[in-house]
């Protein structure tokens, strides 16, 4: 009896904060349509609260873009979606990220399994210093892929629209490719593991415009089968590729990132509800 009371007392501030949170999520469809959703997600680096109370619901087989100025925690939130933050020393995550009805931060959940089902493409192309074939096959191999590896490699490379360029040199090093090709190789590598969600952390920021265009076309293709979340600092890119957009900003006093506005890309870019969003979109700051 006493214990319950104590627990209630401890829980109270949390409830209060949910109510008072500035970033109220926009409702988009019903729960079953969400591929992944976060509630009250907070990420700390040591004592520093990097992002505060993020409530984000990501729809299935859509491209959701996360935009915002530098240092407002876009990448941090993205990494929280597949527990990559755990690799950063001193990083701590509170709140929930619900994937398939389960909180991926529960103790019983293996982060390795989470990362297999929620793949990630990084800002700088980072192929393994192995052959192109090995690059694609390795992820499947460690996940005990049973089928025909050659077929899987070809299928993944085709989906990443890279097959025609590399089919004759599969045994060459992945590092011998151009930057744009390397990034598509990284995408091929990610989809070879057959994840359900692909997180992309500024996937085109290190590439030239032509290669960027290739990646964006590829994302449209992939969105037919996968749920994609992309962090970008390029607003035109967000407007071009995404179906939904989440706008993050820094809270002045605490320097923590918060979710300011989230909705259909069309609406965010033409008629945002929030003044800060409008200022950012129109280029008045950021």
């Amino acid at each position: 009896m006493l214990r319950t009371t104590v627990q209630n007392k401890i829980k109270l501030p949390d409830v209060f904060e949910i109510i008072s949170s500035e970033a109220l999520p926009l409702e988009i469809g019903n729960d079953a349509e969400y591929a992944i959703q976060s509630s009250n997600l907070r990420v700390y680096y040591g004592d520093f609260l990097a992002v505060k109370d993020i409530n984000l619901k990501i729809k299935h087989q859509k491209i959701t873009a996360i935009i915002g100025s530098s240092g407002c925690g876009k990448s941090t939130v993205l990494r929280a979606f597949n527990r990559m933050n755990e690799l950063v020393p001193n990083a701590k995550v509170t709140g929930e990220v619900i994937f398939k009805g389960v909180n991926i931060y529960e103790d019983s959940i293996d982060p390795v399994e989470v990362r297999r089902r929620i793949g990630m493409v990084f800002q700088k192309p980072n192929p393994f210093p192995k052959s192109i074939y090995e690059n694609v096959a390795w992820g499947a191999k460690i996940n005990r892929f049973q089928g025909n590896m050659d077929n899987l490699v070809e299928k993944s490379l085709r989906r990443a629209v890279l097959w025609d360029e590399v089919k004759d040199k599969l045994d060459q090093s992945g590092l011998s490719l151009s930057g744009g090709q390397q990034q598509r190789l990284c995408i091929a590598r990610t989809i070879a593991v057959e994840p359900e969600i692909i997180l992309m952390d500024e996937p085109a920021s290190a590439l030239d415009p032509i290669a960027t265009l290739h990646i964006e076309e590829l994302m449209h293709e992939l969105a037919k089968e996968y749920t994609i979340i992309i962090v970008t600092h390029n607003m035109q890119q967000a407007a071009r590729v995404s179906d939904y957009t989440a706008f993050f900003s820094l809270k002045e006093e605490s320097r923590s990132g918060v979710l300011v506005e989230y909705g259909e890309t069309q609406k965010i870019f033409t008629n945002p509800d929030n003044q800060i969003t409008e200022d950012y979109i129109t280029g008045r700051f950021g």
Partner: protein, 391 residues
């Protein structure tokens, strides 16, 4: 201004190295006067120099010049029918010619003061022939240690060095790389205990080698005697004490362990984080990431660091003196439980002999040691290049 100073430092370094090399070469080559009990000229048969005589003639020479008792003993050791020409020739040198070095000159003098040396040899030792001798020759490398400077070689020492190196490597490489992996990939950098461990390892790398010798003496030679002497394994020929190759190898292994850990850590740290993230992002476990990506990328660095550490160990003398290297053994080491000597020990022992001629042999030994080191460092460079090219 600064450029001149820096250039000067480089020049001083190079000069020091050159002086060292010249000094060694000075001792390892040069004229020497050799006195024979029976002059080779007397034995030369029909104008053919003795070393080119055929086997039967040499046997005849031997029979004519040694006592019949000795001849029978040699026949008993190994019948002459089974010996080859080279072998019989060696016997002739050993029992008939009995060469002895009377006086030797340095390479420097041999080149610049040739006529004076000839004059001096003529005056003081008439009838003796002046030879230009390279103390470093194939005989020197394949002969075992001997009290006779002409016959003495470094085979026992080379084998001893190789055995100890192998044991040191086998002991410290897995432990060192394992510790480096733990410290870099698993241990959280923030925890105080890991920082203490790290500081300790860095300090251990700077501990004077003689202290490792004392440690080795206390642990491997004394405390673990049953193990290092091999008596626990029932080795019959065991010397019944711990002063064996195994003790020496383990001591040197301890000595280079911190070096291997630090070098491996640096190699592992140099692997870009993006590689680890890519691997984790595909759902790899920590061990899969380390095994498939971190280690292959770090391997050239780890190998180079290890070889450099081992080549430091090969030149160590002090700890081995403490652990109890034998200064004079003529029997090849045949396993981890045999007595041993190593190249630096052998060189040290030769330089401390009173006869001048051992100084020349020591110089030749130093060249062998330097060549061995050069070989290992070349191997390190080749390995590094090959592995980095493969990527």
């Amino acid at each position: 201004m600064w450029v001149t100073i820096f250039r000067g430092s480089t020049v001083i370094g190079i000069i020091a190295l050159l002086i060292l090399l010249v000094n060694i070469a000075n001792g390892a080559f040069g004229y020497a006067l050799i006195e024979y009990e029976v002059s080779p000229k007397e034995l030369a048969n029909g104008g053919i120099a003795i070393e080119y005589l055929d086997k039967d003639t040499l046997i005849q020479v031997l029979q004519d010049n040694v006592s019949s008792g000795l001849f029978r003993r040699l026949e008993n050791d190994k019948p002459f029918a089974e010996r080859d020409q080279k072998n019989v020739y060696d016997l002739v040198i050993e029992w008939v010619l009995k060469p002895q070095v009377v006086q030797q000159w340095t390479l420097w003098d041999s080149i610049l003061k040739q006529s004076e040396i000839r004059q001096e040899a003529e005056d003081e030792f008439p009838g003796l022939e002046l030879h230009f001798i390279s103390w470093l020759d194939t005989e020197f490398i394949i002969n075992p240690q001997s009290g006779d400077p002409i016959k003495a070689g470094v085979r026992t020492a080379i084998l001893g060095s190789l055995w100890t190196m192998m044991i040191a490597f086998l002991f410290s490489f897995p432990i060192g790389v394992g510790a480096a992996i733990y410290l870099e990939e698993y241990a959280s950098q923030g925890r105080w205990i890991n920082r203490v461990i790290q500081t300790n390892i860095n300090n251990l790398a700077g501990v004077p080698s003689i202290i490792y010798g004392i440690l080795g003496l206390a642990i491997f030679v004394r405390a673990l005697e049953v193990f290092t002497s091999g008596s626990i394994f029932g080795i019959a020929e065991s010397t019944e004490n711990g002063r064996t190759i195994l003790s020496a190898g383990l001591t040197l292994g301890l000595l280079i362990l911190p070096l291997i850990i630090i070098n491996s850590q640096q190699a592992i740290r140099a692997v870009p984080d993006s590689l680890r993230q890519a691997s984790f992002g595909l759902g790899a476990t920590r061990w899969q990431t380390i095994w498939s990506h971190v280690l292959p990328s770090a391997l050239p660095g780890i190998l180079t660091g290890t070889i450099l550490a081992v080549s430091r160990a090969i030149g160590e003398t002090a700890p081995l003196v403490v652990v109890g290297a034998s200064t004079f053994i003529t029997v090849d080491p045949d396993g981890p439980f045999s007595k041993f000597t190593t190249l630096p020990i052998q060189i040290y022992q030769w330089t401390s002999r009173p006869q001048d001629v051992f100084r020349n042999i020591a110089a030749a030994g130093i060249i062998v040691l330097l060549l061995l080191l050069l070989g290992m460092n070349t191997a390190a460079v080749v390995l590094r290049n090959r592995f980095s090219k493969r990527i």
